[in-house]
Every structure is written in structure tokens, then in C-alpha cells.
Symmetry: C2
Subunit: 300 residues, 2 copies
């Protein structure tokens, strides 16, 4: 679906009255849609674009987003390959905001932290030929919202696109001066989407598995949710790309293609909730409330 | 501010281009605004509309919302007064969704659960003379959003108003058949605002202190985030209204009045972020991203 369609859909919704939505007669449920989906609507995660964070309690798995931040993603990949983060810690968990891990001014890299800031901000880019599956409903922050190759994204009428701070989104922490961040310190959104951060920071992907290993950590009691004492920090054993792990240690995950017909059905099933529980099917959705299905590949 | 103003503001924003916001020249920061606020812009929490949930690790404090759900709030107050929930447990924590506590079909009240469902749904009401401080920015779910007596709320052009499922919102769990819930089982939002629940369930208030005691609990691994085994549940010692606690045990909290001039400045300071860190001040906000300041009263 091309960008022109988003404009057309938005123009349509703008003239509709804001009354109660009437429920679609036979909208199938999310489970029914996924069960009926053709195998071709799913894509395996690319090991080179998958980041595994090993914690004592399990693994957090991130899909990287080189379409939006190629230099930052290449930098993160190189840091993982150099085992740069081995022994790093989760240093900050701020309720309804972010969990953050990495080396920083207060937690120095044991061999010295000589990583340069990435030379481009990559806060946004020209949409060019990137695919875009638009949502028809309005958004508080951006003129058009939708999905590009598995990631929530926005566009404007000038043809600029950017990734969104939805739950699970991963960004490159940076200092208060607007440099671009070195990647030594990363964060993930664990609360209401802080969309005011959009276009203010480079984003490198989103968590596709294991976010509860970060989102359920105790909140830090220091300023901005940093832990008050080092003992409170959670250790991270290692951070690796999938391609640097033995094949047997990679998670066999596949993601629903956001350009697929199945994903468009997923969107409609969530805009109109037809389950018995719902009195009011709503008929609208925010981009950060649309599920992005990821599942374990099964033998076929 | 009356409802007519919301319409006027929305009409204004609708014709603005969706370009980058330019930063307000001298927007003060949130901290500066609150420091300069007059005492009259704050209101003490009413002990009769404050609910204290005592956990082993501390207290969760909820402000009740009788404007929106008078029967459900009266029911919850009566249940607390009868010590109905003493010894209850947190039975469900679903990541990016809700934490839930109470008696249920699977966790029966020790003396039998004979609480009837409340006789009115209270999912929405006529706005009548309720105050409303509107936001000028669009929302994905509702025609008009803003704040009523401390709570995020929406309105439509028919004069109906309803509370919103923002982070920290507390609702009355109910079964899959659309009854109204008995209040025996309550939940709080701990992730991206699940606004599709709006107008599908009665809401009784929002957490004003201690939400991290619920939001950082381990996630349940059973269906819908229910704990797989009873041993995983967190015990709740008691749930009481402030008016049933000795005065010395009440938290000395006061909330910023959402109809005050100070609150309007808070909204603008969050719509336009002027802190040095921000490259892009955004110039817009979603109703669930507006902070609702609550502070400890200090002697004056």
C-alpha cells in the first residue's frame, strides 16, 4: 500500500461523524486471523538484525531497524560483535517511561569508554520507496501513522518518515546537548508511549520477546529512575547479534509482515472489537495499540 | 473553561498545517510552573474519596471518581468499610496491560462472595455541568479529550462524557457477559493506554501514589497474565478509605486542580518542550501523556 492511500483514508475519516462505531458483522478474532494466515505472510527474523540481551532471568530479543537508522544499527552491531557490553548493567528503570542499560558517565566501561557518537542523528529520513501500511484513524502527534517493515512509523506530507516511541521501542540514549549518542547506553519504552521523544533521538528497533524481563524490574528511586545504589542494578551477561550466536542458540522467531493481507485483517479486528465482552467496539485505534505479531516458527 | 471552548480550540487546530512546531519563546519548565503555583490551585484529597491498598512493600493510593461512577464508588467504599478485601491477592499482572486484584470465580472470598453486580453500568454519563479543561490536539479515539476534576476524560458532541484508560486508571473487572461488575475484582492500567476499553467498563478512579508496587510485580505466565500458581500472588493486607483510617495514617496529599491556571500552564509546558535536550519541541500532546501533579502537603 502506498502513501497516497494514507491520505485518501484520512480524508475519508475526517468527514465521518464521531458517533459510536457499529460493529462489523463478521470481523474474525485475532486468533482466528493468525491461525488462518498463509505462511508467506510471515518472515523469519534476520539474524544480522536481531539482538539478544542475556540477563540472569532470560533473554530479551530486539529486532533492529536498519531502514530507519542504518549508521546507529551498524554501530550497535559492531559494539555487540566486540563484546563491548559484556558485564554491563541495567542502570535505570523509571515507572511508566523507560528501562535503560549500558555504560555511561557514572558507570564507566572497564577498559575505558572510547566510543564516538554516531556521525548522523538519524531521527527521521526521507520515506523514499519504503513501504507503508497506513492507519485510517487520527493521531495526536503525527499527520499519518502506520507500519513500515515491522515497525510503527509516522509520515508527513513532505515525505519524511520516522519511527515511533511505542511500548517496546528501543532508542539510543544521549546527553542533554543534542549530540547523536554513541550507542553505549540504550533504553526501551515500558509505559505509555512517550511520543514527544519522536524525532528527538535515534531509534534502533523494538523488543519482540522478553520485554517483561526489563519492564517488571524494580523501579529506581534516584532522579529519573536511576538506581540509587549499584547493588540494585541488574547484570547483563552479554549482548550479541543473532549472526554471532551458534544457530542452535537463535530463537526461531518469525514476524507477521506488516504489508501482508493478514496484517490488514489484524488491524481491522483491533479497530472493531467483536468479542462478546465488548459493549462498544470502538471502531478506531492508535498506532501504538496495534499488536505486531511474532511467533515461534513451527516445523511444516 | 466550558465545553464550547473545546470545540473552538479543535476548530482552530484543524486548519493548522502539520509542520514542525516552533518552540514557545519562554515556556517555563514543569518544575518552575509548580514552584510558582498559588496554594489555591491545589486541593487536598478527600479522605472519603481516597482508597489505600496496603501491600507488604507499601501503599498504593487511589483517588476515587464519584463524578463518573457514583454507584460503583459507593459500592467500593462500602466493601472497603466492611473489610471485604482483607487478605485478598494480586491475581493477575499482564505486561503492557493491567494488574488486577480481588476475589473471583477462581479465588473465592473466604466467607462466600455474595456481592451483587452494581445496578448501573456507569460506562459514560451526561456531561451536564461538570467542568472540562480541553486539550487542543486530536485524539485517536474520541472527538474531544481533556480533564474533569482531576481525571482524564473525553466528550462527544452529544454532550456525553466518559473516563479514559490512561496509565494508572482503575476499573471494575467484569465477566465476559456484559454485566456491570460487583467491584469484588479491580484492575489498574500498567502499560500503553488500552483506550479500546473506554465505555466498556466502569472506572472508579486512578492511582495517585505507589503504582510501582503493582506495575513492577512479576508478570503472570498463565492466560491473560493470571499467575499460574497461588504462591506467585502478592498478598494485600487491607483496603481502606482514608476516612476509615486514623488521621495520622492518611497520606497528606494534594492534587493540582485541573481547572486551574497552573494546570493550563502545565499542559502548554508539555505540549512544547523547551528543555535543552529537545531538538523538536513537538507542539502537541495526547491526553494520556499529560502529567497530573500530586504532591505532599507542606506546612505553610
Amino acid at each position: 500500500m502506498r502513501f497516497g492511500t494514507a491520505l485518501a483514508l484520512l480524508a475519508t475519516i475526517a468527514v465521518l461523524p464521531w458517533g459510536r462505531a457499529s460493529i462489523g458483522a463478521q470481523t474474525p478474532s485475532l486468533g482466528e486471523i493468525l491461525s488462518a494466515s498463509p505462511a508467506a505472510d510471515w518472515r523469519p527474523l534476520d539474524p544480522e538484525n536481531t539482538l539478544y540481551i542475556q540477563l540472569p532471568a532470560g533473554r530479551v530479543i530486539i529486532e533492529l531497524s536498519p531502514d530507519f537508522s542504518p549508521r546507529h544499527v551498524a554501530n550497535v552491531r559492531a559494539l555487540a560483535r566486540a563484546h563491548y557490553w559484556d558485564g554491563v548493567q541495567v542502570t535505570r528503570v523509571q515507572d511508566d517511561y523507560v528501562a535503560q542499560w549500558g555504560w555511561s558517565d557514572s558507570v564507566a566501561h572497564p577498559k575505558g569508554d572510547a566510543v564516538d557518537a554516531v556521525d548522523q542523528a538519524e531521527y527521521e529520513r526521507a520515506a523514499g520507496s519504503l513501504p507503508f501500511t497506513p492507519l485510517p484513524d487520527p493521531d495526536s502527534y503525527a499527520p499519518f501513522t502506520g507500519f513500515t517493515n515491522g515497525f510503527p512509523a509516522a509520515r508527513d506530507s513532505a515525505g519524511t518518515t520516522w519511527m515511533l516511541h511505542c511500548y517496546g521501542a528501543v532508542g539510543v540514549a544521549r546527553g542533554s546537548a543534542p549530540d547523536n549518542g554513541s550507542g553505549r547506553d540504550l533504553y526501551v519504552v515500558i509505559g505509555q508511549s512517550p511520543r514527544h521523544l519522536d524525532r528527538n533521538v535515534a531509534m534502533i528497533g523494538r523488543v519482540v520477546s522478553g520485554i517483561e524481563l526489563l519492564s517488571a524490574l524494580p523501579r529506581g528511586t534516584g532522579a529519573l529512575g536511576f538506581y540509587a545504589t549499584p547493588a540494585e542494578r541488574t547484570p547483563i551477561t552479554s549482548i550479541r547479534t543473532g549472526s554471532d550466536l551458534p544457530a542452535a542458540e537463535r530463537a526461531p522467531l518469525e514476524a507477521l509482515r506488516t504489508g501482508s493481507g493478514t496484517f490488514k485483517k489484524v488491524i481491522e479486528s483491533r479497530r472493531f472489537r467483536r468479542e462478546e465482552w465488548f459493549v462498544q467496539p470502538t471502531g478506531r485505534i492508535n498506532v501504538c495499540n496495534v499488536p505486531l505479531p511474532v511467533r515461534a516458527k513451527t516445523a511444516r
